[in-house]
């Protein structure tokens, strides 16, 4: 008895040194509001998606997705704390409630939706798996990769796709599985493997991390569909809706031509779609449990989807990714959001 008591006591003492956030069983939104910030799970470092600088300031498209949610809830895109997670940890971290949402280039699959207790709130990047090779090996198509050694990151769908792809083509391969993308790049640049496989967007990011990016190239093949998007826990529909609709608002804003620069002016717009989007008309916010002007805050403070894309991964960034299928549906892409109505 004394032991148990002391252990509890000891723990309490230790925990005293750190702000232990606790809340009653409540909805995620209530929890988030009470904490005063959103806890968002991201990768520990992937340029363009989520990457901390030396001061711990995070940037990236996944990071902006979190910031948009924070802007919607608090009207402050800075009210987010980021938890860097490895691929292995991410679902458990979300399931366990350590984070409120996961925005970590996570692929939407049936299994994950159905049996992990998760809900995908949408897609913020349509991706597909590709291959990054060292130019030296003289390969220009993935079908020539028989017998190759492949570096992958552990705990990802890429591990499964890779295996499927090679099996379907009757080819052999040797997988080297690393924990983090840093280690994967390090392994690749140390020459441990011929090929690095990952989502194509990540390949661009990883390539930019190489000492000599010119020595490597991305093969044209895309071997899978990888819709990436933010994830929340099952069983809290309100929160699920919030994340889903914040993302939709950003996509709709681009479609409607609302940007962070003109968001204030657009408040005066008489387009009813814009009015509903920015909250000048209707009570869209209230339906989600958010302030009426949440759309305005999101667009004004974080930007629309296009801005978010261009800022982080677009052609003018080191990653230099074209919009491709991530263009709006009106421009030949598949980015299509349900209407705010």
């Amino acid at each position: 008895m004394n032991k148990t008591k002391s252990i509890v006591l000891g723990m309490a003492l230790v925990s005293g040194a750190f702000a232990a956030s606790s809340a009653m069983a409540a909805t995620t939104l209530e929890n988030v509001k009470e904490k005063g910030h959103l806890q968002c799970g991201v990768t520990s470092g992937l340029p363009g998606f989520s990457q901390p600088d030396e001061k711990g300031n995070w940037t990236g498209i996944d990071v902006d997705t979190c910031r948009a949610v924070a802007a919607a809830v608090f009207g402050d895109p800075k009210a987010v704390e980021f938890t860097p997670l490895t691929a292995k940890e991410r679902f458990t971290a979300l399931q366990s409630g350590e984070i409120d949402m996961l925005s970590r280039n996570t692929t939407w699959t049936l299994t994950r939706d159905a049996s992990l207790g998760l809900n995908f709130a949408g897609v913020n990047y349509y991706d597909g798996q590709g291959f990054l090779i060292n130019k030296d090996i003289g390969v220009d198509d993935a079908t020539q990769l028989d017998g190759a050694t492949v570096c992958i990151q552990s705990g990802t769908t890429t591990e499964l796709n890779l295996s499927d792809y090679f099996r379907a083509k009757g080819m052999e391969f040797k997988p080297i599985v690393f924990d983090t993308s840093e280690q994967t790049v390090q392994g690749f640049s140390a020459g441990r493997c011929d090929v690095l496989t990952s989502d194509r967007s990540q390949l661009a990011a990883l390539r930019s991390k190489l000492a000599d990016p010119e020595s490597a190239k991305i093969l044209p093949n895309t071997i899978s569909k990888e819709p990436l998007g933010p994830v929340v826990r099952q069983g809290d529909d309100q929160w699920f809706n919030i994340v889903k609709w914040v993302l939709s608002v950003q996509i709709n804003a681009e479609e409607l031509g609302v940007t962070s620069a003109n968001a204030d002016d657009m408040l005066k717009s008489d387009n009813p779609n814009i009015q509903r989007l920015l909250g000048t008309d209707g009570d869209m916010g209230a339906k989600l449990g958010l302030p009426a002007d949440f759309g305005h805050k999101v667009v004004k403070l974080v930007g629309n989807y296009g801005e978010m894309y261009d800022r982080n991964v677009g052609p003018d960034t080191p990653l230099g990714l074209d919009r491709g299928i991530n263009a709006l549906w009106t421009e030949g892409g598949i980015m299509y959001a349900p209407p705010v109505r």
Partner: protein, 395 residues
């Protein structure tokens, strides 16, 4: 004591002053507290999992895994089940642990003895090795061996060659694989005969010693027989062994046996690190044998070598064994750092990829911990048995 009180039972102390009652009370409370804590934990976990829609149970072990693993001692491909990935991970963990224990023991004893060498240079180099290696985190050493050394090795096409049969490059060390042909049975037979012969020689040598006092060099002769007889049989049978020599196919070498850099780096780092601790254990073990023992042995006319072999080492061993056991345990546990460099051990494969694909953290972690518990208890048990065998009887 007065007579009348002898008959009646002495009135015991009030129950709460009775140490037995107190002790019982404390224990009941303790066990209740533990059960309560355990029950709360399980209850919380179950309700949390239910409310979060996480699937439970061990059914996932039957499902198809669908991912590749670079190295496995048991047959494996991506169409097999998660249960199989468990075995792959487990055997890989055991492989690196056993290899590490053997190498660390040999190296550790060597360095521990070298530390006490009368050769100044050898002693100082050993000291330097011990003090440097054991004061640097193991994980760092693993990274170093893996990334720094890997980076220094050439690509497959520029492999370092040894006689055109062994190749070293940044994909690993490739050595020829022996494939036995018809007639190799003779070699096995010869080996059996050699073993039998050695046993016979040992018995004979003992008998001869009993009779004449001559000491026969059993060890040297035994080794010679064990080597020569099978070699002889090998040639008599017409060299019935083909070597599959690794060859460059496409990007990589194929054929032969591959020792992947992950295994090599992990093994190297684990052995070097643990050896530095074992060396200190061996040194203090040898120093713990009192000077009187060596003096007595010398006074009896035993040479330095015999003194070491017959008097010092047997006594040093009983001091060495218990801390050596905990070093073995540490090594087995430290092999889990494999996950940091992509060696497919239990933690990397099962608690890593499998856990992630299935999402059943509780089951997977529980299985993993149970495995380590079993490994630890087995090593302890084995070493305890050995320890009891060498223990010294005291009055």
């Amino acid at each position: 004591m007065k007579k009348q009180t002898v008959d009646s039972k002495p009135a015991g102390p009030k129950p709460w002053y009775d140490p037995r009652v107190r002790s019982l009370f404390f224990q009941v409370v303790a066990i209740a507290a533990v059960f309560w804590a355990g029950w709360t934990l399980v209850e919380n976990t179950l309700s949390n999992m239910e409310s979060r829609g996480i699937s439970t149970g061990f059914g996932f072990l039957e499902e198809t895994a669908g991912f590749g693993i670079i190295m496995s001692l048991v047959p494996y491909d991506a169409t097999m089940s998660y249960g199989r990935t468990f075995w792959v991970g487990l055997t890989n963990t055991l492989l690196v642990s056993v290899m590490g224990i053997i190498a660390a023991t040999l190296l550790g004893f060597l360095i521990g003895v070298a530390r006490l060498s009368s050769n100044w240079l050898v002693a100082k180099v050993s000291l330097f090795y011990i003090e440097v290696i054991r004061n640097i985190p193991l994980l760092l050493q693993i990274f170093f061996w893996y990334f720094a050394v890997l980076g220094a090795l050439p690509s497959p096409r520029q492999s370092i060659e040894v006689g055109g049969t062994m190749f070293l490059n940044n994909r690993g060390l490739y050595v020829p694989e022996p494939l036995t042909q018809d007639g190799f049975g003779l070699v096995w037979g010869a080996l059996l005969v050699a073993i039998a012969a050695v046993v016979c020689i040992r018995i004979w040598a003992k008998k001869r010693q009993l009779a004449t006092g001559q000491i026969f060099p059993t060890f040297k002769v035994g080794v010679a027989i064990l080597v020569l007889l099978p070699v002889l049989a090998y040639f008599v049978a017409g060299s019935p062994l083909e070597w599959e020599v690794p060859a460059l196919k496409g990007f990589n070498f194929g054929g032969g046996i591959t020792i992947i850099p992950e295994l090599a780096a992990l093994w190297l780092a684990l052995s070097l690190y643990t050896a530095s601790f074992i060396a200190e254990i061996v040194r203090s073990g040898i120093l713990s044998v009192s000077k009187g023992q060596t003096e007595a042995s010398k006074a009896l006319g035993l040479s330095n070598g015999l003194t070491l072999r017959l008097v010092v080492i047997p006594q040093a061993m009983r001091v060495i064994i218990p801390p050596l056991t905990s070093q073995y345990l540490n090594l087995a546990k430290n092999s889990s750092l494999a996950t940091a460099i992509g060696y497919p051990d239990l933690v990397a494969v099962f608690m890593g990829t499998t856990l992630n694909q299935t999402g059943q953290a509780v089951e997977v972690v529980a299985i993993t911990m149970a495995v380590y518990l079993t490994i630890s208890l087995s090593i302890s048990l084995f070493m305890n048995i050995y320890n009891r065998a060498v223990a010294i009887k005291e009055r």
